[in-house]
């Protein structure tokens, strides 16, 4: 089933839920009001019923896209629970406060219903759907020029003045050239598209101007003369900000209870971790789990933390992973000695949960940013050859465990050499970026897209059947063939050929990739500009 269908199903459920939630909140409000008005003592059963209602909302609202309401309900639930546990009868003012909080929640629900009428949630919509990224531009005089150059990269661009409130076309990004506009004017215009990310262009590149932009919520800042390719690169980063997978932490500690405590604490903050109690299992743990960071106990029997860290550092694959020691060692001298051997930092036990989460998050984030930058191709921002091969292997073994199907697609631009020969390498690069952008915009967020070689691309589509993969690539092929490529005054069209193979037919990552490659070759032989599916040899 298509991702958009899933979103539609979820949206329908969300709508149903909102209706019920409104009803539930009104019931709870009525209960609270009734209790507040009562003269006699409030019996525990009545409070228990309130608590149960709040508990339900606390556990469900977030799932349906109302996280703030869920948190609010959770706080109220805890309050009622405290009252129940202390067996001090709540006073009338206390219950009135509860009622007011409930009606605040109800208003919150009504407000959000107004702003999201019939619209799917924007964070699901962006990039993953079957549409281009939308950009609105406000640049006194230069709007048309900017509009054309960005449209050439495959974005759906309009002048900001054409965007109407309540209209279906709302921008994902708004670009404002502030140089010829009064602040009041562009600020007012920008406020009309609150959902869009903001990029400012200015004449003034001073620190103050940049600070002003940051405070105005800008996510990008460029100065004149405008370098369109670097603006485009920035847009690419903005819109493809991947829905972050949770950070992954490998915990190496022989104290299982403490390690489990760390795991649960991190889990509460949305960080995944795996515990390893025997140092000798660490290499396998790294290989299987591919963490963003490793937390290593400094004192373990058989192998000390620094020894283990040095052992991990033998392998270049794990260079990017910060190794952080956990230790009861507060002696600065001895900490320094450990760090001099290997490892990146110290966390001293006992450590507060909040501190642990903060320390781990900051380092894991940095580690991930670095590895993403290292693994990405400079021209397209796509994943490089070795990294995408690794991803295919990960996906392959994942599907073998889960029994689900994933597909690998090999794509090659047709007659690329003649484009280079005819229009020059600059144009060749532009065509490669054009296709990279199209793939990024059209495929789902969970898909991995890599640049495999010169004009070759690979996409890995998890949880996707062969037929769905073929259809998706077929649609992208059609769009690509229709795109107008511009080289100076000339306009030309480019096509690609693609081959698709499924993990159900090939159980080895290398063979899977070869099969997709062969299918792509068949597509070339069959006349190019087509998608072929790799069929498993009949048994």
């Amino acid at each position: 089933m298509q991702d958009s269908d899933i979103q539609a199903r979820l949206a329908a459920l969300r709508e149903q839920y909102a209706e019920r939630l409104g009803h539930d909140l009104q019931t709870l409000m009525a209960q609270a009001r009734e209790l507040a008005a009562r003269q006699r003592t409030v019996e525990p059963e009545a409070l228990e019923s309130l608590r149960h209602g709040l508990h339900r909302i606390a556990g469900s609202a977030g799932t349906f896209g109302y996280p703030a309401l869920g948190r609010e309900a959770r706080e109220m639930e805890l309050w009622v629970q405290t009252v129940l546990e202390t067996s001090v009868a709540p006073t009338s003012p206390m219950l009135t406060t509860l009622h007011d909080r409930l009606s605040g929640s109800y208003r919150l629900l009504e407000d959000s219903a107004k702003t999201t009428v019939g619209e799917p949630q924007s964070d699901f919509e962006l990039v993953s759907g079957e549409r281009s990224v939308r950009i609105a531009i406000l640049a006194e005089g230069d709007t048309q020029v900017l509009l054309q150059s960005l449209s050439g990269f495959g974005y759906d661009c309009r002048g900001l003045s054409q965007v109407e409130e309540g209209h279906e076309w709302q921008p994902d990004v708004v670009i404002i050239d502030t140089s010829n506009l009064e602040p009041e004017v562009w600020q007012a215009r920008i406020a009309e598209v609150p959902g869009a990310m903001r990029v400012l262009i200015s004449d003034d590149g001073s620190f103050e101007a940049r600070l002003q932009a940051v405070r105005g919520g800008a996510q990008g800042f460029f100065t004149h003369p405008l370098d369109v390719p670097s603006l485009e690169r920035h847009l690419r980063q903005l819109v493809s900000l991947p829905q972050q997978d949770p950070y992954r932490v490998l915990i190496v500690d022989d104290d299982l209870e403490l390690a489990e405590h760390f795991r649960l604490t991190l889990k509460g903050a949305g960080i995944e971790s795996r515990v390893i109690t025997a140092p000798r299992d660490v290499l396998r743990g790294l290989r299987d789990f591919v963490p963003d960071l490793a937390l290593i106990d400094i004192n373990m029997p058989g192998c000390s933390g620094p020894e283990l860290a040095r052992l991990i550092r033998f392998d270049d694959d794990w260079l990017r992973i910060p190794l952080v020691y956990l230790s009861a060692e507060s002696d600065v001298q001895r900490q320094a000695q450990a760090l001099a051997q290997a490892g990146d930092d110290f966390l001293v036990k006992p450590i507060a949960d909040v501190a642990l989460v903060a320390a781990v998050t900051a380092r894991a984030q940095r580690s991930r940013q670095l590895s993403q930058a290292l693994a990405c191709d400079g021209l397209t921002g796509l994943i490089k050859h070795p990294a995408i091969k690794e991803l295919i292997e990960i996906e392959q073994s994942r599907t073998q465990r889960s029994g689900a199907e994933a597909c690998v697609v090999m794509i090659d631009i047709d007659r690329f050499k003649s484009i280079n020969d005819t229009y020059g390498h600059g144009t060749g690069d532009y065509v490669i970026r054009l296709l990279a952008n199209l793939l990024r915009q059209r495929l789902r967020r969970v898909d991995h897209i890599g640049r495999y070689g010169g004009e070759e691309f690979v996409a890995v589509l998890p949880a996707c059947s062969l037929e769905n993969a073929r259809e998706a690539i077929e649609r992208i092929r059609e769009s690509f063939a229709q795109m107008e490529c511009v080289a100076g005054k000339e306009v030309f069209h480019v096509t690609f050929s693609a081959g698709v193979a499924s993990t159900l037919d090939w159980t080895d990552a290398g063979a899977l990739l070869e099969a997709a490659d062969r299918a792509m070759y068949d597509a070339k032989q069959g006349g190019r500009d087509q998608v072929r599916v790799a069929r498993a040899a009949s048994p």
Partner: protein, 129 residues
């Protein structure tokens, strides 16, 4: 390792039941049956023999932990793994559920787009080690 295929979801809140069904069947590709309460879960687990029971902690009638105990007393359901779902996030409480035999705990509210992945990871972790 046996792949995770059949999941029995036990939850008294019908909205959550429905969204979990979409999350597990459509997003995750699992086979799913839903029960409203512990009692029907115990007989359904006996009948249908799911690979996994996803069990809400707080339910009217017999609650999640009691349902788990009953499942363990019944020979046909004795070894079916159970994952709890709860809106409580105290580490000590989660620890307790694990101690009484749950594979792991899924915290509510869950994200329908990632619930299946979460279950698969728990499944793989428990079979790895």
């Amino acid at each position: 390792m046996k792949p995770l295929q059949r999941i029995l979801h036990v939850e008294d809140d019908i909205s959550i039941q429905e969204v979990a069904k979409v999350a597990l069947e459509i997003v995750g590709g699992f086979e799913v049956r839903s029960c409203d309460d512990g009692q029907s879960a115990i007989s359904c687990a006996d009948d249908w023999q799911p690979d996994l029971v996803l069990l809400d902690v707080m339910m009217p009638g017999i609650d999640g932990p009691t349902t788990l105990t009953r499942l363990r007393e019944q020979a046909s359901t004795q070894s079916i793994p159970v994952i709890f779902m709860t809106a409580k996030v105290q580490p000590s409480e989660i620890e307790h559920y694990r101690a009484i035999g749950a594979l792991d705990v899924v915290i509510k509210p869950f994200d329908p787009m990632t619930l299946s992945t979460q279950l698969r990871e728990i499944w793989e972790r428990s079979h790895a080690g």
